[in-house]
Symmetry: C2
Subunit: 495 residues, 2 copies
């Protein structure tokens, strides 16, 4: 009898090639000297090309068909089928055209942002929208081409489901933000004092250890833009960056990446060298990073534990700062034009308006030429501000220049799922506050490992959520969390 | 008309795969967490396997034959033929058996060394000798199977040529070492004072910059065993290690690796992504590392320049140490049982006796069972000492456990060539002393670039040496260098 082992063995080569390319990309962002750029581009391109050729081959097709006949429910077989169909969906012409369009768009976007000239980027954006629509048409969809694109980043998610949750979210969140924005901003000047780089770095390593990141099976390095990547569940790399004059950058950046890293380290080792050895979706991944950054890391209990040691580490910056003052400062809410600098409350408004706009582009309801105005209008409507320039507005994010449409909503899905999962963990373990105040993070991590991490891609995000929480995707738990937390922080807002 | 460009294009894929494997190996030695070991072994094995399959393919054979018909003298074609014949020489059975034998021998050697039990390693060593003889027989040779093995590491070198130079060297060097060993050992206790790690690290980076290592096109990191590796001429990685209580480890280690790194950075950029983008032989590579470590780095002029700043950096360790005292200390000669700790004078005796022994093994004149005794006898004869244990004797080096026989002599070839090249550079530029005293290393580097580095593998070591120095391989220049330098350092020795 045939089993999936022949398929598994065959696919391991493609897996090794892709994992190797990922090592090279990690090195490129952390240690590679500038001179290495040309050679590195060739090396990564060769590895990715060979991985694709190996994976999208007749051999895979044959082995996959045999495996489906014998063990159709084997998660590896299911995921391999999904990936194989995706890898072979596009004719080589479209793959090549997309790669070229992205390469051009990336540098056009950089120039456009530097010179604050949207028109430099516009024709490239048009091209990328058209290519995405072509892709969606090839993939097929029920209601809108946006469905086919969402499925790339959050398998199984549809625009219809998304509409429902985002609608709920918007209805409640916009008035919450309005109420909070009307309150006086807490004093957070001390977060901008001097925090010596080396001490910050050590603090991030210590907190990583505390939350359960395993340095035998991973490490943290510096990079210009923080990210997490995994070469195997036992080799997970985080990066952070340190701003000597803004404490939250490194500390919360590290906690955010820790969430991603703990997920990858928690995947069942049996899935190593297979397609299953990854987080199941971008949204589920983001649920883990948001959970550790916000639900845990920006809680009062967390700082009840860490503020005393932060004060020992940074006596000049934090002497005399009370727990309440610190807690308020790291949870200041203020509408601002830049997504990546947004607080946890306003963040999702940034996502919602991007989701609306990219969907309108893909559905042909919005022309690229009209995008900057639509962007500014949306910011005025939703956040009551207008970015000063397109560089600070429609050109701020890299995503569209990479040809990714349907990615943005996964940030909000992650936010919502983080609250659902946190609530479920509390149902099982009791209130987190007590654990967190003692610096005892392992029960929470253990629960996430058990219900989320270990499955890798062997279980869908929707199934994980349902089994772990008894619910499907729902905005209410996160909204309740926000109301409780910020109601207490801003008693005058009347949440 | 066909040119080598189709061949070059085809081989670039294998080159990228090998370069990528090298990146992964570098990461493994520098940053990889222990947990990454399993996955990394798979990744590297996959990349090397695919590189080999791609290179040793019928396509390569066809393209190579066409290129040879059209441009037989193209260095790429010549080198590709040599590598292709080597890659396809061994039947797959022998490749697999060798790989397995090496894997077993490596761990047996480690166990044998830890427990000081040669017999644990002996059967594995026998097997590796037999496999090397089988390989030599397949490759063919004129005088001795050792010829075929030498050719793997120093293309074109024969046992007959080696016999000539090593004979000259031994005749003169043994009495020199005897005379030096009879002299009182200079005081070098201050080299074992405390040298703070961070300050040593900064010093090594500064000296790397001074000698012309380009940090836009390379970097230095820490590793347990120093090495140099290159992913491209514009991305060259050095490593060093720091011993807080022994100054020479990091400093001279860095200078040694700098020699290798400058060579790799100096290779013509046009050779990037081809078989030519490497040093031409192990001996020529070692000539560069020895030159910077010894001829330059252990010269009096060098320390006339660096001692004052070393004293500023390490005031506690070096206060009151005179230039002469420092110069004597870093050039102390003393026969000792361990090769990697040997001074530059006795070092070559360690190599010569290993060369004799491995050749005798390969030629069937020495049985593995008799090797420990032969080793100890040779040390008694040549260095007038007997290692206390086999772990400190015959088991000290990793080379044989990796199945490499014919590698050791390249260390001595490098030493000899370093003196020949240094002399030629002085003939062209005038005495180096003046430059070095001013910290002006670029004329010497420029000369090496021009006459050695830029060619990569496009010119053989013998041709480089002949064109650059007007000589073939010769022990006399190095012996003259040693007599002059150590005659002055040890006036009582009567050299």
């Amino acid at each position: 009898m045939f089993d999936a082992s022949a398929l598994r063995h065959h696919l391991a080569t493609a897996h090794d090639l892709n994992a190797s390319a990922t090592v090279l990309e990690w090195d490129q962002e952390t240690y590679m000297p500038d001179g290495g750029e040309d050679a590195r581009a060739h090396q990564v391109a060769t590895l990715r090309r060979l991985a694709h050729e190996h994976f999208a081959s007749d051999t895979t097709s044959t082995l996959l068909a045999r495996a489906e006949a014998e063990t159709p429910a084997d998660p590896l077989v299911v995921v391999a089928r999904r990936d194989f169909d995706r890898a072979t969906l596009l004719p080589p012409r479209l793959v090549a055209e997309t790669a070229e369009a992205v390469a051009r768009a990336k540098s056009a976007w950089r120039r456009a942002r530097e010179t604050n000239t949207f028109s430099v980027f516009a024709p490239h954006l048009e091209r990328l929208v058209a290519l995405n629509v072509e892709r969606a048409n090839l993939a097929g969809f029920a209601d809108t081409p946006y469905d086919a694109l969402l499925d790339l980043y959050e398998p199984g998610l549809t625009a219809r489901v998304l509409d429902g949750v985002l609608g709920d979210l918007r209805r409640d969140l916009v008035p919450i933000v309005e109420a909070l924005a009307a309150q006086p901003r807490p004093d957070d000047a001390f977060l901008r004092a001097r925090y010596p780089t080396e001490t910050q770095w050590t603090f991030t390593l210590d907190v990583l250890r505390d939350v359960g990141f395993d340095f035998q099976r991973g490490r943290q390095d510096l990079s210009a833009h923080p990210f997490t990547t995994s070469f195997a569940p036992a080799d997970v790399r985080l990066t952070t960056r340190v701003d000597e004059h803004f404490f939250p950058t490194a500390f919360f950046g590290t906690l955010h990446e820790a969430g991603h890293g703990l997920y990858e380290q928690g995947i069942d080792e049996h899935y190593a060298r297979t397609l299953l050895a990854e987080g199941t979706s971008l949204g589920m991944h983001e649920s883990q990073s948001r959970l550790w950054e916000n639900q845990v890391g920006r809680s009062r209990a967390f700082w009840a534990h860490y503020l005393p040691q932060a004060q020992r580490r940074f006596p000049d910056a934090l002497a005399g700062v009370s727990l309440d003052a610190f807690y308020r400062a790291v949870n200041a809410v203020e509408p601002s034009p830049i997504r990546v600098e947004a607080d946890e409350v306003t963040y999702n408004l940034h996502i919602m308006l991007r989701t609306d706009l990219e969907r309108a582009l893909v559905e042909g309801r919005l022309a690229v030429a009209d995008l900057p105005e639509a962007w500014n209008e949306a910011y005025r409507d939703v956040l009551n501000l207008v970015p000063g320039t397109d560089a600070l507005g429609v050109l701020q994010d890299v995503h569209w220049s990479l040809g990714t449409f349907g990615y943005f909503p996964t940030y909000t899905l992650g936010t919502l799922m983080s609250a659902q999962l946190f609530d479920a963990a509390e149902d099982a373990l009791g209130p987190m506050e007590g654990y967190v105040e003692r610096g005892d993070f392992l029960p929470l991590l253990g629960w996430m490992r058990e219900h989320v991490h270990r499955y890798g891609r062997a279980k869908s995000a929707a199934a994980i959520l349902l089994d772990a929480t008894g619910q499907s995707l729902d905005a209410a738990p996160w909204l309740a969390y926000i109301r409780t937390k910020y109601g207490a922080l801003y008693p005058g807002a009347g949440l």
